[in-house]
């Protein structure tokens, strides 16, 4: 299987470990990822709150480059995923299609479908197949699967999981030998777009999320979005300071846990880049 791969800005900076583990896992599962040539920012939240045309043109420009590689483009960032899916939907039904075509000088709207890698994993590769390739068991490690917002909402756009009771991450970690805990905050918002401008709000939201995860008995969290990861992990120290907590919960990308189960070494999965290290926990559980 060959897919165009759109890393997005975060996966080339603060979420370098997501990019590394994504590539390593894809390779181990015989999925060929070819990076979209000259990819540029999808516009994220600042574009869609500023100018609708800009928020559609930026994804479209990338789909145009992706088309040279494949009719399917894979993303790992939930926020990029959302922006591409929104563009896909709007351009299919809207008259602004004509205007947008003019702006980026296009004859036709490229027919490229954007998919999150979790969707590929579950609906193309299949969890059974993943299980068959498992080289290491995750030994009952207790995981709080955090879905956040844009991976699952709104369902008409995100398409592949239930917006109120999502289960794709839970199902994945379960077959890898981990134990997904049941917790109500799995799809609460972390306040991503306010991370720099209203950090106080983000700290409150993430404190609630980490509190709920730890009360449910989680030893770590798993996410599918670099912005969620940054808010829950990079800011964990700030949360502890502000709310006098002593959280020390590693926040893994699902590709990192999957990679460990597939027998990929920790360095290739970027585990050494974590601010809240998972080393101690993994050692304690005997996961090499």
């Amino acid at each position: 299987m060959k897919y165009a791969y759109f890393p997005g800005c975060s996966l080339h900076s603060t979420a370098l470990d997501y990019d590394e583990s994504a590539r390593a896992v894809a390779k181990a599962l015989d999925v060929e990822l070819v990076e979209v040539p000259d990819w540029t920012c999808c516009g994220a939240s600042p574009a869609h709150v500023t100018n609708t045309f800009l928020s559609l043109s930026l994804p479209l420009k990338n789909l145009q480059s992706a088309e040279k590689i494949s009719r399917q483009m894979v993303v790992f960032c939930a926020a990029c995923y959302s922006r591409f899916k929104f563009a896909e939907k709007s351009l299919a039904e809207n008259q602004i299609k004509e205007k947008i075509k003019k702006i980026i000088n296009l004859e036709d709207i490229p027919e490229v479908k954007t998919r999150h890698f979790l969707d590929i994993l579950i609906n193309e590769i299949g969890l059974e197949n993943v299980q068959n390739r498992k080289k290491q068991d995750l030994k009952g490690i207790k995981v709080a699967c955090y879905y956040g917002c844009l991976l699952i909402r709104p369902p008409k756009v995100a398409e592949f999981d239930d917006p109120e009771q999502p289960s794709c991450l839970d199902n994945l970690v379960e077959i890898l030998g981990a134990v997904p805990v049941s917790w109500p905050y799995k799809n609460e918002c972390c306040g991503a777009s306010l991370s720099l401008s209203r950090t106080d709000i983000v700290l409150k939201l993430t404190n609630d999320i980490l509190q709920d995860a730890s009360e449910a008995g989680a030893e770590c969290l798993v996410v599918a979005c670099p912005l969620c990861q940054a808010n829950l992990e990079l800011r964990q120290k700030d949360i502890n300071k502000k709310y006098r907590k002593d959280f020390s919960l590693p926040v893994f990308y699902f590709t990192q846990l999957l990679g460990l189960a597939l027998g990929i070494d920790k360095k290739s999965l970027g585990l050494h880049r974590a601010m809240v290290s998972g080393d101690f926990l993994l050692k304690e559980k005997g996961i090499a």
């Binding site: 800005c9 975060s10 080339h12 900076s13 603060t14 979420a15 370098l16 470990d17 000259d38 990819w39 540029t40 920012c41 516009g43 994220a44 939240s45 600042p46 574009a47 869609h48 709150v49 500023t50 100018n51 609708t52 045309f53 800009l54 043109s57 930026l58 420009k61 205007k99 003019k102 702006i103 980026i104 000088n105 917002c149 844009l150 909402r153 709104p154 369902p155 917006p163 109120e164 609460e188 918002c189 306040g191 991503a192 777009s193 306010l194 720099l196 401008s197 209203r198 950090t199 709000i201 409150k204 939201l205 990079l234 050494h272 880049r273 974590a274 601010m275």
Partner: protein, 183 residues
């Protein structure tokens, strides 16, 4: 607080503007408040999401555009997902911010808009986000000089922060930004 809704405040012109910008029929809302019950940012808003819709229905343009709510909305899509009347409230919030910008209403949450502006200007300049410059410029412009600065060395050590921007397809990016602004 008491408001008087007279024929003057009830400018239905505004309803048309919001509906056109968002593509959403705001009179579909029957004020059940489900959106506000699930909104993660409600605790910090000056008007709840359902109140914003009601005010928009009544044409209370100035109050809506001057609210903090429209800037604080995190675009989490919870309201949109849950609304029994299929009112895409997240899209309405986007539309309200866009109208506020167009009409040069001073954003009540200065830093939120400042961040959006700086984010987009680095993307326009480099093609991709360049965190180092973005955070630096945000701190200087917002006056929070040392905000998050102590994270930088740790991130650099872990390879999670870039020193130089990755210049990509800059000419085309410029054209796109220009093209969308001129519309």
């Amino acid at each position: 607080m008491k408001w008087l809704i007279d024929s003057d405040t009830s400018k239905l012109e505004f309803v048309r503007e919001v509906e056109e910008e968002s593509g959403i029929k705001i009179f579909a809302c029957y004020q059940c408040s489900k959106c506000s019950a699930g909104c993660p940012i409600a605790f910090e808003m000056d008007y709840l999401p359902n109140q914003i819709i009601r005010m928009a229905q009544l044409g209370m343009k100035e109050r809506v555009l001057a609210s903090r709510t429209i800037w604080l909305c995190a675009g989490c899509e919870t309201c949109t997902t849950r609304c029994p009347r299929e009112v895409d409230l997240a899209a309405v919030m986007d539309a309200l911010r866009i109208i506020a910008l167009r009409e040069k209403v001073k954003p009540s949450e200065r830093d939120v808009q400042l961040f959006n502006k700086i984010f987009l200007s680095t993307v326009r300049k480099y093609g991709r986000v360049f965190e180092g410059e973005m955070i630096g410029r945000f701190n200087i412009s917002s006056g929070h000089l040392f905000k998050d600065i102590f994270k930088a060395p740790k991130l650099l050590k872990r390879g999670r922060l870039k020193i130089f921007p990755a210049l990509t397809d800059v000419k085309k990016m410029k054209d796109i930004f220009k093209g969308t602004e001129d519309i």
